[in-house]
């Protein structure tokens, strides 16, 4: 496998990581909430997709729509019933509640679905490849992941910068008390944000679940990758998060090329290195 192939693989992998990271980045940005259950929620979405496609027998598109709506609703309710009560100046309660949630979801999935690895079956899509240029052939699934990531960021940017809701998000992130004076209902804004985050995670789950097999215990690793992508990219910028994901993907691909056992470690070390030399990330948004 040539060096160029490694780069391509890294970039495509980065697309998946960016998708993991988007939901997390959204909640950081609007609510300053770190959701330790983020990875496990992605897994939950993956398992719901599994049930929708196998037990309910729905085709991929319909299943995705159903699960997106379900997860959005779940996020909304989660915020209103649970997370809302612990938001505040003390960092311990939200961390502990989301950590508890992580454990509950992981083990709940274990009890419900068992520990065996599963995968979303979508026929030949998984293994087809597409030729982009002479000599350059990439897997269709990973390419879709990258394209989806870019589309997702573009869509979210659209929401944030061209809609009334997006203005409300940004204003609430700046100053929740004054945003209320504008008629923005803070509680609903947060609930929509969490719902949106979970909906985006469904996209991540679908893309991921097609490509690789999953089991209930791999949630936390997704959280760590998502987190690393956000920090490497820089806080406050969705395009930055995409870039961060790609950097992480590249680091892992290169590390894995040198020694397959070093793939994940290379990612962690890159994260720590970025932290050392550029603590604010590579592309932080300038906050006035």
């Amino acid at each position: 496998m040539s060096g160029f192939d490694t780069i391509v693989e890294g970039v495509l992998l980065g697309g998946v990581y960016a998708l993991f990271a988007l939901g997390l980045s959204l909640i950081f940005g609007i609510m300053r909430l770190v959701n330790l259950a983020h990875g496990d929620l992605i897994l939950l979405a993956a398992y719901l997709m599994l049930s929708a496609t196998t037990a309910l027998g729905l085709p991929l598109a319909a299943a995705s729509l159903l699960v997106v709506v379900t997860m959005f609703a779940l996020g909304f309710v989660l915020q209103r019933l649970v997370l809302e009560r612990v938001l505040g100046d003390d960092i311990l309660p939200p961390l502990l509640v989301t950590f508890g949630l992580s454990i509950v979801i992981q083990n709940g999935l274990l009890l419900g679905y068992g520990a065996d690895s599963r995968r979303l079956q979508v026929g030949s899509f998984e293994s087809s490849s597409v030729t982009l240029a002479p000599g350059l052939s990439v897997g269709l699934a990973p390419l879709t992941a990258l394209v989806t990531a870019i589309a997702a960021v573009a869509l979210l940017q659209l929401i944030f910068y061209r809609t009334s809701l997006g203005r409300a998000f940004r204003a609430t992130a700046d100053n929740p008390a004054i945003a209320q004076l504008m008629g923005v209902n803070e509680r609903n804004v947060y609930a929509i944000a969490v719902g949106l985050s979970l909906a985006v995670s469904v996209i991540a789950a679908v893309v991921f679940g097609i490509r690789a097999s999953f089991d209930p215990s791999i949630g936390p690793a997704r959280l760590l990758y998502a987190f690393e992508a956000v920090i490497i990219g820089g806080l406050g910028s969705l395009w930055g998060t995409l870039a961060g994901g790609i950097v992480l993907g590249l680091a892992q691909a290169i590390g894995g090329r040198i020694n397959p056992e070093w793939q994940i470690l290379a990612g962690h070390l890159t994260f720590l290195a970025v932290l050392m030399v550029r603590p604010r990330g590579l592309f932080p948004a300038r906050r006035a």
Binding site: L92, L96, F99, L101, I103, V104, I264
Partner: protein, 363 residues
């Protein structure tokens, strides 16, 4: 009601006679009773191996080591504001350092324990400056990433078992300091004697750590730490060296955590990266103990570990169910009883066995 009091000496020689002195009281009568009861309990626990079954001793090792880890996490995260979700790093490092010491350097296992702690402390000292660039919740995940990185690094050492791990043969442990004495004293075979030895060391460590933390929180350094957590800028403005205190605390906690890791894996005599660096075993349980028991109290983790023990014993046969229960309980407690079981009881009935709050009053 009699109280222990700490008298502040008058700073000026000529103080008007009719001006009352200010006192800061820290003790209560209940705490004096509790102190006596505590000493009796420790003595009873020490004598326990004479009559207890091996299973009970092993259970108590679990309880004592989890309690120690919980007290340490409590002082770091509860009082110190350094919410780490990566303390499993130091458990793992201590455990691996112990194994390395025994297998590669031929050290006496008991002597290797404090060295393992030192190794963990060393790594903590190196990681600290890096991780402290992250604030609050980011620090939490950052510490988790660091733990994962360390797990993966340890898995690279084939001489220590690589990814699948290794065991230490009983032969290598048979010459352990004190083992023969325990065997003779209680008439036990080497493996059971090792359990008892580890048990006593765990008891010692738990007592030292608990008293150490208690003493620290009663001292002005503990007060400085709590102030730094509440409002770092305000604390600095009165001369508290916030960064320094946090650094020292972080390293000290890593030292003790490393020793716990070494102890646990000395008893198990078998190590693997996934087990030694497990988030569930060394962080999830610990956090739940502290949260459910009562954060920012010394008594809280004690209550929490007993609850955990009961829960694990009672639900053990149901597999992951008890983790679901534990997690749900932690969430509910955080939502509705944020001071934990002990915190709520203490507030209701004005209990303080290990009082750390200061009361300002006139003499």
């Amino acid at each position: 009601m009699s109280v222990e009091s700490i008298r502040i000496p008058a700073s000026r020689e000529e103080r008007p006679a009719d001006l009352p002195a200010w006192q800061i009281r820290v003790g209560t009568r209940l705490s004096r009773v509790a102190a006596v009861a505590g000493i009796m309990l420790v003595v009873a626990l020490a004598a326990l191996p004479a009559i207890a079954s091996r299973n009970l001793i092993q259970d108590l090792i679990f309880v004592l080591t989890m309690l120690t880890l919980a007290q340490l996490w409590n002082v770091l995260a509860g009082w110190g504001g350094l919410v780490s979700v990566g303390q499993q790093a130091f458990v793992g490092l201590g455990a691996y350092a112990l194994f390395a010491g025994i297998v590669m350097a031929g050290l006496d296992p008991v002597a290797a324990i404090p060295l393992a702690g030192l190794f963990a402390a060393l790594i903590a000292a190196m990681l600290g400056p890096l991780l402290f660039r992250l604030e609050g919740p980011y620090f939490a995940i950052g510490s988790w990433v660091a733990a994962e990185a360390l797990r993966l690094i340890c898995a690279q050492f084939k001489s220590l078992g690589g990814g699948t791990g290794m065991s230490i043969s009983p032969g290598e442990l048979s010459q352990m300091f004190g083992l023969k004495a325990v065997q003779a004293l209680l008439g036990l075979r080497p493996a059971a004697a090792r359990d008892v030895l580890v048990y006593w060391l765990a008891l010692l460590l738990a007592v030292l750590v608990t008293l150490g933390i208690y003493g620290f929180m009663r001292s002005r350094h503990g007060l400085a730490l709590a102030a730094s957590r509440d409002n770092a800028a305000a604390a600095r403005s009165v001369g508290v060296r916030t960064a320094r205190i946090r650094h020292v605390l972080w390293i000290a906690v890593a030292f003790a955590t490393g020793m716990v890791g070494a102890l646990v894996y000395l008893q198990k005599a078998r190590i693997s990266p996934d087990a030694a660096f497990s988030v569930t075993d060394w962080t999830a349980y610990v956090i739940f103990i502290v949260v459910i028991g009562g954060v920012r109290t010394i008594e809280g983790p004690m209550v929490g570990v007993l609850l955990l023990w009961g829960l694990v014993t009672y639900l053990a046969q149901h597999g992951s169910l008890y983790l679901v229960v534990l997690g749900t309980l932690a969430i509910l407690i955080m939502l509705f009883m944020p001071k934990g079981v002990w915190g709520a009881a203490a507030r209701r009935w004005q209990l303080q066995l290990f009082p750390t709050q200061r009361w300002l009053g006139r003499s």
